[in-house]
Amino acid sequence: MGRDTLHRILYVEDDADIRKIVSMSLEMVGDYTVASCGSCAEALQAVDDFDPELLLLDVMMPDVDGPATLRELRKRKSAADAPAVFITAKVQSADMAQYRRLGVFDVIVKPFDAMALPDRIGQIWQQYLSGEYDHAG
């Protein structure tokens, strides 16, 4: 286990209902520990204490959107290396290109299947790990 198992997910989403559902899904179905934040500011407050292993971010958020939030989080040591996953409905090719440039590891498309979401996150984590090993090896 240890490093191979994903535990802490920092999740930023402005829509309270979606936040609740995602949190419920990840915590109840996936047994992850989720720090749910409603905005960039909340995320920045929580990040250092929480020390996330994976960042899950909504894109379209007022004031500070997903990419900007990611940039801000990257400035923190605690979140500097964690793989970032965007969970968004904004998945046109131009958007995807932008996410790639930002170094986003993967994208989950809204609306998503709440029951399958933890598995999807698990797969992404495994991919990330294998990539990291490749990189390390």
């Binding site: 402005d14 829509d15 419920m24 007022p62 004031d63 904004k90 029951m115």
Partner: protein, 716 residues
């Protein structure tokens, strides 16, 4: 024309001369011929006269021996012969009637002499016969001798008659000779004349020939040069019309014929004015072309009239010259229609260049700017004199790469053309997107002489495209967000995961329901705004009393406000506040304003609602003491999906379309919508509708409501 007259004169004179020669020569020949005939006659007469001598000469005059019987017989025979010959010669003389020689007395004398000779000869013969018979009868000698004597006497007398006849003949001969000599002289004179005539005729013929030759050479030269001249005159590109002092047309060349469509025959003799459009005719005055200082062209412009009445823009150069003392005005006409047309085209092109909304840059082949139009200045901010002579690359924003420009120039070099989007920089430093179309202008041999760049600022287009894209993205996002919640919550419920925790189940169900409602509201609002914007919604316009409508709306929203711990207070207004409107729509507007106020009010807040007159309108105000509208957001308030604080929206459950819809409705009703805000203190949203007054319409017999806007319209 003058040349031709000279010709005719020369021919005429030559003809007359030749005719005179003929007549003269004929007369002469005739007289010579007459003279000749007469001369022949006279010669014949003379011969015949001479023939008269012969019988007499041949008549042997009887001597003494005539009295011998033998001799008498001989003489008798001779006498007969003489008589016969004489008469023959005499009668021949009578036939020479053509000879105008009067021999009348001579004939008589000769005839008398001849008769006497004959008579005497006969008497001699008788006496000879008598003597013979006497001798035979042996008559006495006396008697014989008497007869012999008498015979001798008679013979003497006969000799005399002979002599007289011969003298007469000699006289005749003399006369005839004289006549012959005269005739001969006359003939010689005639021949002399004839020779003279021949000489003169030959000379004059030669002269005529020479003259004619020269004339014809000259004529041919003249004809040749005239043909030459005609060919030139007819083939020059300018119309040439000659007129007299009064402007009457004397000649025109083929170009002029073609210009006007008339044939020469038709216009020669008519006034030049008839070739000018009526309104320009007064401009034409042939006297204007007269010049004291020699021929000098005066140029003026007229609108000519073709045979079909169509207009012909022409330039007329008039010069008065003098030909053989007679003034002739030469008009040289140029059809300037094409020039005018091209001038007009140029004017039009210049006007387009000046007035088009597309910026135009013209450069030389080295890309140095030669000219720019006002639209270029409007777009870039650079005035023409700031950029002329420069390379347009000073407009570059630096956003495009080197490769981009290399590709652009490759296209221009290879195809003479490039078009595409490019971001340039304005004078004020602002980068702006533009559509640029560059074309190389080539000369006849295919060498590039200029480049023309046509550009239009697409920043607004881009902005509106962006807005559209954003709207679609926003709508999509707005719809997906509640769907995500619904889908997610139902998914979790379905899995039974939440079954262990009733609280969580309830929460998931609440989320699903709330988001379903939100989805419905969103769809309703999006459809509303789409319909309002495309004016597909039909308004049920009827008179409404705000004094009833506003309190009703307030009442309907009171329950909703209570959920937020907010109270709505209806402030007193008049009983009669009539407007023309659609009740449901107005309630929709009021509900939007109220729900906004409720959502933005602090707990225990109070919302004040009032209505009152304001400058011809009824104004309905909804005032709250919530957070207010930040200055930066004031321009966005009525835009779609605009919310000052987006995170708030989720909390407040709005769609972000309420104010857009409200504004669209109020606009459709001819009203106004607006707000005043002091953030943190109070915010007042209001809408206004024209005051409607009540009027009695007699003919309809029913109430008719007229809006104040209608009343204030000027009476017809």
């Amino acid at each position: 024309m003058v040349i031709k007259e000279r010709y005719n004169l020369a021919y005429g004179l030559a003809g007359l001369l030749i005719l005179a020669f003929f007549v003269w020569t004929f007369n002469l020949l005739f007289s010579i011929q007459n003279n000749w005939a007469e001369s022949n006659d006279v010669t014949a007469m003379d011969k015949d006269v001479h023939a008269l001598f012969d019988p007499w000469r041949n008549l042997n005059r009887p001597g003494n021996d005539v009295l011998e019987n033998y001799e008498v017989a001989v003489h008798k025979k001779e006498l007969r012969r003489y008589l016969q010959e004489y008469r023959q010669a005499r009668s021949r003389l009578d036939t020479h009637d053509r000879a105008r020689v009067d021999l009348g007395n001579y004939y008589r004398d000769m005839d008398a002499a001849a008769l006497e000779v004959e008579t005497l000869a006969r008497r001699v013969l008788e006496l000879a016969a008598e003597r013979e018979s006497l001798r035979l009868a042996d008559a006495d000698a006396a008697m014989i001798s008497a007869a012999e004597t008498e015979a001798a006497t008679t013979m003497a007398r006969m000799d005399q008659a002979f002599q007289s006849g011969l003298e007469t003949i000699a006289g005749m001969d003399q006369i005839l000779d004289q006549r012959l000599r005269d005739l001969d002289g006359a003939r010689r004179a005639g021949f002399g004349s004839l020779y003279l005539i021949i000489i003169v005729a030959l000379f004059s013929s030669a002269l005529s020939l020479v003259l004619l030759r020269r004339t014809s050479v000259q004529g041919e030269a003249l004809r040749a040069s005239s043909t030459h001249l005609n060919a030139i005159v007819n083939n020059v590109v300018d119309g040439i019309v000659t007129v007299d002092e009064r402007g009457n047309i004397e000649s025109l060349n083929r170009t002029a014929e073609n210009m006007f469509g008339y044939s020469s025959d038709f216009v020669i003799g008519r006034n030049f004015r008839s070739l000018v459009q009526p309104e320009d005719r007064s401009l034409y005055d042939p006297a204007e072309f007269k010049s004291e200082s020699g021929p000098s062209g005066r140029v003026s412009e007229f609108t000519g009239m073709r045979c079909d009445g169509s207009e012909l823009a022409m330039e007329l150069e008039g010069t008065q010259i003098s030909v053989e003392g007679r003034p002739i005005i030469i008009h040289i006409l140029r059809d300037v229609s094409e020039r005018k047309r091209s001038a007009k085209r140029l004017q039009l092109a210049a006007a387009v260049f000046e007035n088009t909304s597309e910026g135009i840059v013209i450069t030389d082949r080295h890309c140095n700017i030669l000219s720019t139009n006002p639209a270029f200045t409007a777009i870039t901010g650079f005035a023409a004199d700031e950029v002329i002579g420069q390379n347009p690359r000073f407009l570059q924003s630096g956003i495009q790469t080197r490769d981009f420009y290399d590709e652009m120039w490759r296209s221009i070099t290879e195809t003479g053309h490039w078009q595409g989007e490019i971001v340039n920089r304005r004078k004020n430093g602002e980068a702006y997107p533009q559509w640029l179309n560059i074309n190389a202008v080539k000369d006849g041999s295919g060498h590039v002489t200029h480049y023309v760049g046509v550009t239009f600022d697409i920043s607004e287009l881009k902005a509106s495209e962006r807005m559209k894209d954003e709207f679609i993205a926003t709508v999509s996002h707005e719809l997906r967000t509640p769907l995500t919640s619904i889908h997610g919550s139902l998914g979790l419920l379905d899995s039974g995961m939440a079954a262990k925790s009733p609280d969580k189940s309830a929460e998931l169900i609440r989320i699903a329901r709330a988001n379903s409602q939100r989805l419905v509201r969103l769809i309703d609002d999006i459809l509303s705004i789409a319909k309002l914007e495309s004016e597909k919604i039909k308004f049920q316009l009827r008179p409404l009393n705000l004094a009833e409508l506003v309190p009703n709306a307030v009442e309907a929203n009171q329950e909703y406000a209570k959920q937020y711990g907010v109270h709505i207070r209806m402030e007193p207004g008049g009983d009669d506040a009539r407007v023309l409107g659609d009740k449901d729509r107005l309630i929709q507007v009021l509900t939007n304003l109220l729900s906004n106020a409720v959502k933005h009010s602090p707990a225990d807040g109070v919302i004040g609602v009032s209505y009152g007159r304001n400058d011809g309108y009824w104004r309905v105000s909804v005032t709250d003491n919530g957070s207010g509208i930040p200055k930066s957001f004031r321009g966005e308030v009525f835009k779609k999906f605009a919310q000052a604080d987006g995170s708030d929206r989720r909390k407040q459950g709005g769609t972000g379309l309420g104010l857009s819809i409200s504004k669209a409705i109020v606009d459709r009703l001819g009203g106004r919508i607006g707000f005043d805000s002091e953030p943190g203190v109070r915010t007042c949203f209001y809408f206004e509708l024209p005051i409607m007054q009540q009027h009695w319409s007699a003919e309809a017999g029913a109430e008719r409501f007229v809006t104040s806007a209608e009343l204030s319209a000027p009476a017809e």
